[in-house]
């Protein structure tokens, strides 16, 4: 009898739990009700998402997630970070364990279709390269026949490097380790000849290596890696919010608005600025948010340029130039659609 009771209670609870999960409804409502955003991040890439020595999350992806929280709640700190491996990240999003994935994830056709995901506007244009010890004396990627390569499993990186060696008719051996930290440890201890990943990440790994000066990036980019925040299929409103949050970061830079001057810009006569900051109401409401959403993003997180320079720019350990990540009017690829 006792066993039976336990069984019945278990079944009822299970049914209720699964039912509530299945009917949780629109993501925005769920996020608001919960009171904080759950963002999937990498957790191991300096400059993109990593806790600093005080345990505060820092990075370009982290700031993108903070911008979404600022847009939704008007408070960039109402956020919970879930560190995910490359293999875990997509299932975690599909299973609704996270609201948005800001984890240097490459936009691909398969991921948008067969995996049932939507990629928002790119927040970092990257490309895949190779990090190699200077001691090996390798100058070109054509000298890599027979190399052992450290690579993260479940990434586009893993497929690109296989394609690269196949196309050039060279042999290689992969060492795939799921945890980013373990992988880079193995590489810097000499387990592999090469470490391959997105160039920004290689720079990040090198920045925290025991002896950064001993390693160099090979002068070759073997793939395009547009990295963007990801959401699930089937919730267009939530997709719009994430997509336009990234564009708001870009638009703020274009309009010359930053976290220092945003309160002054409220008095700006320019109608584009007024619409953007919600002085002329309407844009926020269309997204289902407060009209001050963009103001909150810029005030609390900054514009794209500020985020870039603070996390990965020339004055950081990564020292990356803006390059293709510059604004369109400066010859880059970053281009926000009109805010109207």
């Amino acid at each position: 009898m006792k066993f039976l009771k336990v069984c019945v209670v278990t079944v009822v609870v299970l049914v209720l739990v699964t039912a509530s999960l299945a009917m949780a409804g629109e993501t925005l409502d769920a996020v608001k009700k919960r009171g904080y955003l759950i963002a999937g991040v990498n957790g191991g890439v300096f400059g993109f998402s990593m806790p600093d020595d005080k345990g505060v999350w820092k990075g370009l992806d982290v700031d993108t997630a903070r911008a979404i929280a600022a847009a939704v709640f008007g408070d960039a700190d109402k956020i919970k970070y879930v560190p995910l491996t490359a293999v875990q990240r997509l299932p975690a999003l599909q299973a609704k364990e996270i609201d948005v994935l800001c984890r240097n994830t490459t936009q691909t056709l398969t991921r948008e279709t067969a995996n049932g995901l939507n990629f928002a506007h790119v927040n970092f244009y990257d490309g895949q390269g190779f990090l190699v010890s200077k001691k090996l004396g390798i100058k070109s990627a054509k000298e890599l026949d027979g190399a052992t390569v450290c690579v993260l499993p479940g990434t586009t990186t893993e497929l690109n490097v296989a394609d690269f060696f196949r196309a050039n008719n060279m042999k290689w051996k992969p060492v795939v380790i799921e945890q980013t930290a373990e992988l880079s440890k193995a590489f810097f201890a000499g387990r592999c000849d090469l470490l391959t990943s997105d160039i920004s990440q290689l720079a990040a790994h090198r920045a925290v290596a025991p002896n950064p000066a001993e390693y160099t990036l090979l002068p070759v980019v073997i793939s395009k890696e547009p990295l963007a925040p990801v959401v699930r299929h089937g919730d267009d409103q939530w997709y719009d919010i994430v997509n336009w949050t990234v564009m708001a970061l870009l638009q703020a830079e274009e309009l010359g608005i930053n976290s220092k001057n945003v309160h002054l810009k409220l008095k700006d006569e320019n109608p584009r600025v007024q619409r953007f900051l919600g002085v002329i109401p309407g844009l926020g409401k269309s997204l289902g948010l407060d009209d001050k959403w963009a103001y909150n993003i810029v005030k609390q997180v900054g514009n794209y340029s500020e985020i870039f320079e603070a996390n990965v720019g020339q004055n950081t350990a990564l020292g990356l130039p803006r390059g293709v990540n510059d604004q369109w009017y400066k010859g880059g690829l970053m281009y926000a659609a009109p805010f109207r």
């Binding site: 049914v15 599909q94 991921r111 893993e158 992969p174 193995a186 000499g190 387990r191």
Partner: protein, 398 residues
């Protein structure tokens, strides 16, 4: 009281008992209800999953099996390249898991038995060392042990260009343990055949020797003769095949050694970690099995004039095995299941390949389903084999 009880059964016939007072019927009803609920829950979960997958437009099914995998796998017992299909990639994973589990189980049983017997040694130092080994290995989580062995392999060993060369033809590097193997030659096939013939001959010999001893009481040195047969036949085949001596010696070319046989650091670390960890548990099982035999039996056997080896082989082991085998089976399965920790140190076992497949195709449900089926199959086969062996060795009760 007893009388009242018998009275009541006489008075009320079974037909008049309402079904909710009949424990048998009640039990059946409970079972049916539970079955229904479980069935409905299963149906609900299935349809709900289907609906959710459809709503999010996630592809389902096993169609990806025949697609090109386009990722590389570090080591494989069969030829594999990124141009092969997912089905072949997954097969490579299964074979890698099988390889590490099979070799691991054999080494674990051997090492565990040695340590278990050493623990019972009358030599104080040997017994204490075995005890320390068991305590230390059992108490450190196996994942930490794997990390330890793996980091030793790449932190301490040099790069291929400064490889350690302890013997001719053997190289120790952070790319693995590389050693020379005999170059392929037809004589090797004959040697393998000769070995198989030797196995059959040894089996026949031991049967004949047993029969003869039962009939005449004459013992036959089966062990020594068996070794002579098992070694002698392949050597004879090797000599007849032209005694090929050419070795495939590894040579440093480019980044790494070419030729010879390479055991990767991932494989060695995984094997070491699993064997050393599980052997500690096996040692305790062996010790318990031996201690389960009463001291009197050993004394009786000794007083009959049996030598210590015979006491172990004829009296202790046959009885100890029935205590040892069931828990030993579960340790074997533990080793197989723990081999999934390979993902942490980069050995491409089945879980590692399946994880990559899940991520590249997005078919998580199918992938996890496959992982469960494969490990269930491994566990059930191990258990079926050991149950058969257990029945064979079980003491015939008289």
């Amino acid at each position: 009281m007893a009388q009242e009880g018998t009275n009541s059964t006489e008075i009320t016939t079974p037909a008049k008992i309402p079904f909710w007072h009949d424990p048998t019927k009640r039990a059946i009803i409970y079972q049916v209800v539970v079955l229904l609920i479980v069935g409905m829950l299963g149906y609900y979960l299935f349809t709900n999953t289907q609906a959710n997958l459809k709503r999010q437009a996630i592809a389902t099914g096993f169609g990806f099996f025949s697609k090109e995998a386009s990722f590389e796998i570090g080591e494989s017992p069969i030829p594999y390249s990124a141009a092969d299909t997912y089905a072949r990639a997954l097969l490579v994973g299964v074979l890698n898991t099988l390889k590490v589990s099979f070799i691991g189980i054999i080494l674990t049983v051997i090492l565990g038995t040695f340590i278990g017997i050493a623990r019972l040694s009358t030599n104080w130092l040997v017994a204490k060392l075995a005890g320390i080994y068991i305590e230390v290995m059992q108490d450190i989580p196996v994942l930490l042990q794997l990390f330890f062995w793996y980091s030793i392999s790449y932190e301490i060993l040099p790069s291929p260009r400064q490889a350690l060369n302890p013997f001719a033809g053997v190289f120790l590097t952070n790319r693995g343990l590389i050693f020379a193997v005999p170059e392929a030659h037809p004589a090797h096939v004959y040697m393998a055949l000769a070995f198989l013939v030797g196995c059959v001959a040894v089996w026949a010999l031991s049967r004949w020797a047993k029969k003869r001893q039962a009939k005449t009481g004459q013992p036959f040195p089966v062990f020594l003769v068996s070794i002579a047969i098992l070694l002698g036949l392949p050597v004879a085949a090797w000599l007849l095949g032209g005694a090929p001596l050419k070795m495939d010696v590894p040579v440093l070319r480019g980044f790494n050694f070419q030729g010879g046989l390479t055991l990767s650091p991932e494989f060695v670390a995984l094997l070491l970690g699993l064997v050393l960890y599980t052997a500690a548990f096996v040692a305790e099982i062996v010790r318990a099995g031996i201690q389960a035999i009463s001291r009197g039996q050993v004394e009786a056997a000794m007083s009959m004039g049996l030598k210590p080896g015979q006491v172990l082989r004829l009296v202790i082991l046959p009885q100890a095995l029935r205590v040892i085998i069931p828990p030993l089976t579960s340790q074997m399965m533990n080793l197989t299941k723990n081999s999934t920790l390979a993902v942490a140190i980069g050995f491409p076992d089945f879980v590692s390949v399946a994880n990559t497949t899940i991520n590249q195709t997005g078919q998580a449900i199918e992938g996890v389903g496959m992982i469960m089926v494969v490990y269930l199959f491994f566990s059930l086969s191990t258990s079926a084999f050991m149950n058969w062996y257990n029945k064979r060795t079980a003491l015939v009760e008289r």
